[in-house]
């Protein structure tokens, strides 16, 4: 299972020769190639402005224009059947809706088949509880802290049970302790329901802890991204990862790439 060759027909999320320019004509994302297998999870790191958010927005179908191909199991990602759960960098909560109503709205739109009100409400409650924010259910986003809003956005993305989960620095506004707790929670949830996921982060450790492969976007849009195989660390028990030799080696390897290309 080599990831350096991009075969359009393979299963999972196939990103082939993806290139993005915004209206100003400046490249926002250089040529990106990778295959994220179905039920796999990759992390993406890169310096500010390297196009991490742009990559996610392209996969989420939010960019009208891009060059290259974006396929999921051989079909266009934008296909109706592929439900995409997005945790945007700015959390993307609707300020005029309460926390509960934000999640309810997403659920109603993404999963119209769940018509049972009770089922919808209990699902919302379950996710709020597991994110540790059940007491915020009736509050409006503007009255929440950044970290609290972030957890609401994560709860919303999880609640709709998407086919592809896209997270844009979802833990960036959290303190170290909450962050580690949520990393564990996230990983447990992912292991229980392995959704195909792309996880953008600024944090090298987080990238190593949570990704089967690590996509390192370069600062220059001309260079190709490095993809580092991280299955050795990913396969360990979570609490053993940080203290392992592999983790240390991986950190060194990634820092080296960062020194050269950032």
């Amino acid at each position: 299972m080599s990831s350096s060759k991009t075969n359009v027909n393979s299963s999972g999320l196939c990103v082939k020769d993806l290139q993005v320019e915004y209206n100003n004509g400046q490249p926002a994302l250089g040529k990106v190639n990778f295959i994220l297998p179905e039920h796999g999870i990759y992390t993406v790191i890169g310096p500010s402005g390297s196009g991490k958010s742009t990559l996610l927005r392209a996969v989420a179908g939010l960019l009208p224009d891009y060059a290259g191909q974006l396929l999921f199991n051989g079909k266009a990602v934008q296909d109706k059947e592929t439900l995409i759960g997005l945790v945007p960098q700015n959390y993307g909560l609707l300020p005029w809706k309460t926390v509960r109503a934000n999640i309810r709205t997403a659920l109603r739109i993404a999963r119209p088949a769940i018509s049972d009100k009770q089922e919808v409400e209990s699902r919302i409650q379950r996710w709020l509880t597991s994110m540790g924010i059940s007491e915020l259910a009736g509050r409006y986003p503007l009255s929440l802290s950044g970290g609290q809003q972030q957890r609401v956005a994560i709860a919303r993305a999880f609640a709709i049970m998407p086919t592809i989960l896209l997270l844009d620095e979802p833990f960036s506004a959290l303190d170290a302790i909450t962050r580690e707790a949520l990393q564990v929670l996230f990983l447990e949830h992912w292991l229980a329901h392995p959704v195909t996921a792309l996880f953008v982060t600024h944090d090298v450790e987080e990238a190593i802890l949570l990704g089967q492969q690590i996509i390192i976007l370069p600062a220059s849009k001309e260079e190709t991204p490095d993809i580092v195989d991280n299955r050795a660390v990913f396969g360990m028990k979570h609490e053993d990862k940080r203290s392992s030799e592999d983790f240390f080696e991986q950190t060194k390897r990634i820092r080296k790439v960062m020194r050269e290309k950032w």
């Binding site: 439900l83 995409i84 700015n90 609707l94 005029w96 709205t105």
Partner: protein, 250 residues
Amino acid sequence: MNKRLLQQVVRLVLVFAGINVIWYLAFLLMNHPILPSPLTVYRAMFELGAGNIALNVGYSLMRIFAGVAVALVLGLLVGLLMGRSPLWNRLLDPVVYLTYPVPKIALLPVVMLFFGLGETSKILMIMLILLFQVIISVRDGVKAIPASTYDVLTSIGANAAQKFWNVTLPGALSVILSTIRISLGTAISVLFFTEIYGTEHGMGFFIMDAWLRLDYPEMYAGIMLFSLVGFVLFLLVDLLDYKFMKWRNQ
């Protein structure tokens, strides 16, 4: 919250009482039938009977509601179109720009020539007063919603109607409400003018009728009731604001 509400009510009652005191003093000073005492006016109001009051107030309210409703629906449609589509904005912007400064009240004779003296022209006038304000505020309100607000809904495949109900409308609602609040005063004044002609009901007719009969207490009673109608309408807008803008004030 309740305490603040109570304070607000107390303040309003005090101001109302104050106005009555000044009125009474003016009455004592002038001592002339063109300014009856507040007591006489309230007695006249009482003698009008609930049915009579309800009929006139009801007609006026009905005209305002109809005018506001039509203006809102049309203004929302056009404003939305202009806010969401640059093409339509380019087409309609000069139209709005040219017609906006035309004093709508000056169109009263034209509207009456075309649509007669009946309900249509009364409602149409109120609608005209509000329409352009609503169009402009909806357009600007919709434009002011950051594009990224739609992102999550777009990514989970929301259709246009779902985006409208969940993002566009609530996002533009605060501007819409403040526009209604501002234009409501003008709309009520215009209502008064239109009710002078071609009707036997409504507060405007009632006041003018009492005036022509030289029944000053009843005329003032009419003015008081008309003001009450305006006050209730403002209260209604405030109530809507409180209900739908909670997210900003929490």
